[in-house]
Every structure is written in C-alpha cells, then in structure tokens.
C-alpha cells in the first residue's frame, strides 16, 4: 500500500513539474530508452529516488520508474528474488545476503542517523551512556535528565530497517532496546511520530530531519550534514542501491545517473552527503 501511494506521488509530481526547464546533460544518456525500473527498499533513500525518477520521467515519457519503501531488508530480499530492479539498503548487505543472489552494491551517498526529540523538549544533549540508559529503560522519566516530569516514550524501527541496525551498532553499541519501545515502520513515520509526541525520543536519517523534530547532541557532537561529512559524528552509514548481478540497460543508466554531478546534487539537496 505504501508502495502504491509512493508510486502515485511520483507520477503526480512528474505531471506537476512536466514544464520545469531544469534538464542537465546527465539525462541525455536516457535518450531513446523505453521501459520500467522498479525500485524498493530503504526508506531513507526515497526522496532522492523520487527526485531522480521525476527528472527522468519528465523528460522521457517512455520510461516509468516506480519507487517503493519497505525497509533495507525488503530491498535486499526483493532485488535478490528479482521482484524489483534496484533494491535500496541503508546498510551494506551482509555476505550471506550478497552471495546467493550475486548482489552488486553501489554506495551513492553518506548519511547519519540522528537521535531526535520533540522541539519543545529541553533535553537536547546526551552522552552515549545516557542514551543507552534511555533506550534500555534504565531512565524512564525526562525529569531525571532535566526535562518535564513525564515518562519517556522510546520509538524504535522495525526489524527490516537499516537505520535501526546502524543506530543499534554505532550509537547503542548493540546494547538492549527496551521491550516497551514502540515500533515505527519507516523514516517518514518516525519523524511524524516524534513530531507529534512531546515526550518522544527516536532516531531518523539525517537527510530526513527538518524543524518538526530536534536533533540531540551526542557526546558533544550535533548531528548535521557537516559533522557527518567530516567524520566527527560517528553514527553514520552509506546509502546503497543494490542490483542482482551487474546492472544492465535502464537500471545501469539509472545508477550511473546517481553518480553524475546532477545526481550527486540531488543527493546534497536532500540533506545527504555526496560520495564524490
């Protein structure tokens, strides 16, 4: 269902902007091409995928690109099973995932995973140890951290999430996540959940952050594009697009496009860090 709605959105935007003049030379590679590209997986990737798809489909009517979500696990599984042409993941696929399907991975952006709270929450700085105590429920009231006297609501992501995996490994050092934590199935939904809950703590892709949620400074480093790019903020990961075997035809053109100057500009415009 999520997939269809994204698909509808993509097509909708394609029509809305069909008069926009911003065509780069990078798109010339698609000249004369026809066909479809099916994309699914990591939810952090979606804004970039949609923008790239929009630009390509606006200029070349014969090309249809559908962008679905599902999470990194879904992306890897679906591309492996041949259900989609490109499976996105917010973590590098594991060897046992790469091998049976002969996956080829393409890392086209770097992204951080930021701890976020509601903007009205006075607690905007935590140490890693405090963070672990919050997520393992050893601290369960904001009062203990200088906030309101209200229980902390811990939000986490589903098992398919690459964001969750990176956060769990690099921010929590594989420590416990409370069994009371609420599970949210995408980056977008996580942002909505935290933006609507004054007592929430959660984590989202840095590229997805906007003023509706407030980033939390972790061990003195605020997660921003700059701190992720220069390596000060450690909870970061690559954004990958995976194909089964070497990409061919349209799929190859699409992945090549992500690595052109124009493609990397889309990456930067969406709050991620270019790999160039």
């Amino acid at each position: 269902m999520r997939k269809t709605s994204v698909r509808v959105l993509v097509i909708f935007f394609a029509f809305c902007f069909s008069a926009s003049p911003c065509f780069g030379e990078a798109l010339d590679a698609f000249e004369g091409q026809k066909g479809t590209i099916k994309i699914a997986g990591g939810t952090a990737h979606i804004p970039v995928m949609k923008e790239a798809a929009k630009r390509i489909m606006t200029r070349y009517k014969g090309i249809v690109i559908t962008v679905g979500g599902g999470g990194s696990g879904v992306g890897i599984k679906q591309v492996g099973e041949g259900l989609v042409d490109i499976g996105n993941s917010g973590r590098a696929p594991r060897p046992e995932e790469i091998e049976p399907y002969d996956l080829k991975m393409f890392k086209w952006a770097i992204d951080g995973v930021a701890v976020v709270v509601h903007p009205a929450n006075p607690v905007k700085s935590l140490t890693k140890d405090r963070l672990k105590e919050i997520f393992s429920e050893k601290i369960d009231n904001w009062k203990a951290l200088g906030g309101a006297d209200h229980a902390i609501t811990v939000y986490t992501r589903d098992e398919a999430s690459g964001t969750r995996e990176v956060f769990w490994e690099k921010a929590l050092d594989k420590d416990l996540i409370s069994k009371k934590a609420l599970f949210i199935p995408s980056n977008g939904a996580m942002k909505t959940a935290v933006a609507n809950d004054p007592y929430a703590i959660g984590y989202v892709s840095v590229g997805h952050m906007d003023p509706s949620v407030a980033p939390v400074t972790l061990d003195g480093v605020t997660p921003t594009i700059e701190t992720v790019a220069n390596g000060q903020y450690k909870v970061s990961r690559g954004l990958y697009s995976n194909t089964r075997g070497e990409p061919k035809g349209l799929t190859k053109l699409f992945i090549d496009y992500l690595f052109t100057a124009e493609g990397q500009q889309i990456v930067v415009d969406n709050g991620f860090i270019s790999v160039k």
């Binding site: 269902m1 599902g70 599984k77 609501t153 098992e159 959940a193 809950d197």
Partner: protein
C-alpha cells in the same frame, strides 16, 4: 448414465469445491512445513508460550497472541452495543428518513479504506489519549477504539439483515396483540434473529483479529505483552508485517509461519463456532 448438461455442471462445480478445499488445507500444511525449522530449533512449546527476543535467541509469539486478543476483544465489546443500537434504529425504531440516511452512511463506512481510519487515529485519537490518560498514546486503547469503528459496519449490516429476515407474520401477530415497537423488537424479533446476529458478531470479531493496519499504525508494536489498555501491544498480523523483511532463512522470518498458524486457528475456531450455532438452530426449529 447419460452425459447430461446437469451432470457436467455438477462435476465442474464439484471440482471447484475440491480445488478450494485443497488450496485452503494446503496453506495450513505449507505453513507447518515452512515453520518446521523454528519448531525444531526452539522447542515446539516455547514458540507458543515464550517471549520474543531474537537477539537472545527467543522466538516465542505469546506476546503477539496476547496482544491480538487484547486489541480484538475490547474492539468487539465496544462495537457490539454501538452496532446493536444502530441496527435497531435502522430496522425498526427509526423513522423512515432516519433509516435511509443511516443505511447509506453505514454502507458508505464499509467502503472507507482502513488506512484512512489509521491516519485519523494517529492525528486525533493518539494525542488525545496521551494527554488525557498518559502513556505513549499509541496503545491497546487507541487501536481498539478505531478497530471498533472499523468493524461496526460489518456487525450493523449483519444485525439489520437478520432483524429484517424475521417472518413479518410473527411481527403482525404481536402488533395485533397490542405490542408496541420496542416490545415487538425485544420479545418477537430479537429472539428470532438471535442466531444470525451471533454469526455477524463472530465474523466481525474475526475481522478484528485479522486486521493488520490499524494495529500496526496505532498500537505501537512493542514486543512485550500488554498489561493494560494504555500499554503498547503487537498483534500477530502486525508482527508478520514487521518481520517479513528479515532473512528468508532466519528463525525470525520463520516465526511468521507460527503467527500464520495461530491466526488460522483463530479464524477456524470462529467459523466452526458460527457453523455449529447454525446447526444447532436448524435442529431446534
């Protein structure tokens, strides 16, 4: 025996029935077969009775079974009086205009996509519960309330149909004896329609047990069994939706089949209960 058209038709339909039955029973066998590695790895018993904690190697689905019941049962209990009242008004108590409007409204409600209810729940109900009752807002209560609204149209339509199916001769007789509308409803129509209404109730409960999206969006999906209506819970269906992306060969993924079997059993029990009651009714009459 001659090859008559009727014979051919009968055989074709018989084959269809067989095919349907085979598909349905093979689904169960399939789930058992695919779930086998899980039952072997952690004992068959612990899958149904243990906690869920994949990092500790625990793959029990008991919290999800409890979560499903915690959400589905209050939802049906909430929906019952609501649907009973509405069905009474639609069929007997309301004026002709009110009946028509309500009828159209209920039919319209059945057509609203589940996700719309979910969104309304997230943006209106969840903050209300968080501010009013405390807790995280995403909890059993939020999911149950929305689920109750979701299954009410099913119940209402079933209730109204059974109420209308009562033989008008009986109603006329009661009318002739001077029974007013409420008396006719309570003493004549309701007892006669009871069987059909029970079926509607159980089917609606089946729908509540099987619904995925509402629980996924509103119940919070925490992996601990809820201990109260303000605690988050994860249903079997939401669990399947959340875990389906794990590795095909991992035990996490295999737990999907255990959930499937549990849901299968829930539904089967509901259907058997309906059939049994139908049977008993036909024997009595």
């Amino acid at each position: 025996m001659r090859f008559s058209r009727e014979n051919i038709a009968r055989n074709v339909f018989f084959l269809c029935t067989i095919a349907g039955a085979v598909v349905i029973s093979s689904i169960l066998l399939f789930m058992i077969a695919l779930g086998l590695p899980l039952f072997k790895e952690s004992s068959f018993f612990s899958v149904w009775t243990g906690p869920w904690d994949p990092y500790q190697g625990l793959y029990g689905i008991l919290p999800m079974i409890i979560g499903t019941l915690w959400i589905a049962l209050p939802a049906t209990v909430l929906a019952l009086p609501l649907s009973l009242g509405t069905a009474f008004v639609i069929t007997i108590l309301g004026g002709s205009r009110l009946r028509k409007i309500l009828g159209v409204l209920v039919r319209f409600m059945t057509g609203i996509p589940t996700v719309v209810y979910g969104f309304v729940g997230i943006f209106l109900l969840v903050p209300l519960i968080r501010e009013g009752f405390g807790g995280a807002g995403m909890c059993v209560l939020a999911a149950s309330i929305v689920l109750a609204i979701l299954i009410s149209p099913t119940m209402i339509l079933f209730f109204s149909d059974s109420l209308l199916a009562v033989n008008p001769v009986d109603v006329q007789a009661a009318k002739a004896l001077g029974a007013d509308r409420v008396q006719r409803l309570l003493y004549v129509i309701l007892p006669k329609a009871f069987g059909g209404m029970t079926s509607g109730f159980i089917l609606a409960m089946g729908r509540a047990l099987g619904d995925t999206l509402i629980a996924l969006m509103l119940a919070g999906n925490a992996i601990r069994a809820p201990r109260g209506v303000l605690e988050p819970a994860r249903t079997l269906t939401a669990h399947i939706a959340l875990v389906k992306a794990a590795d095909f060969n991992s035990l996490e993924f295999r737990s999907i089949f255990a959930c499937g079997i549990a849901l299968y059993l829930f539904t089967t029990t509901a259907v058997v209960a309906v059939r049994f009651m139908d049977y008993k009714r036909s024997v009595v009459q």
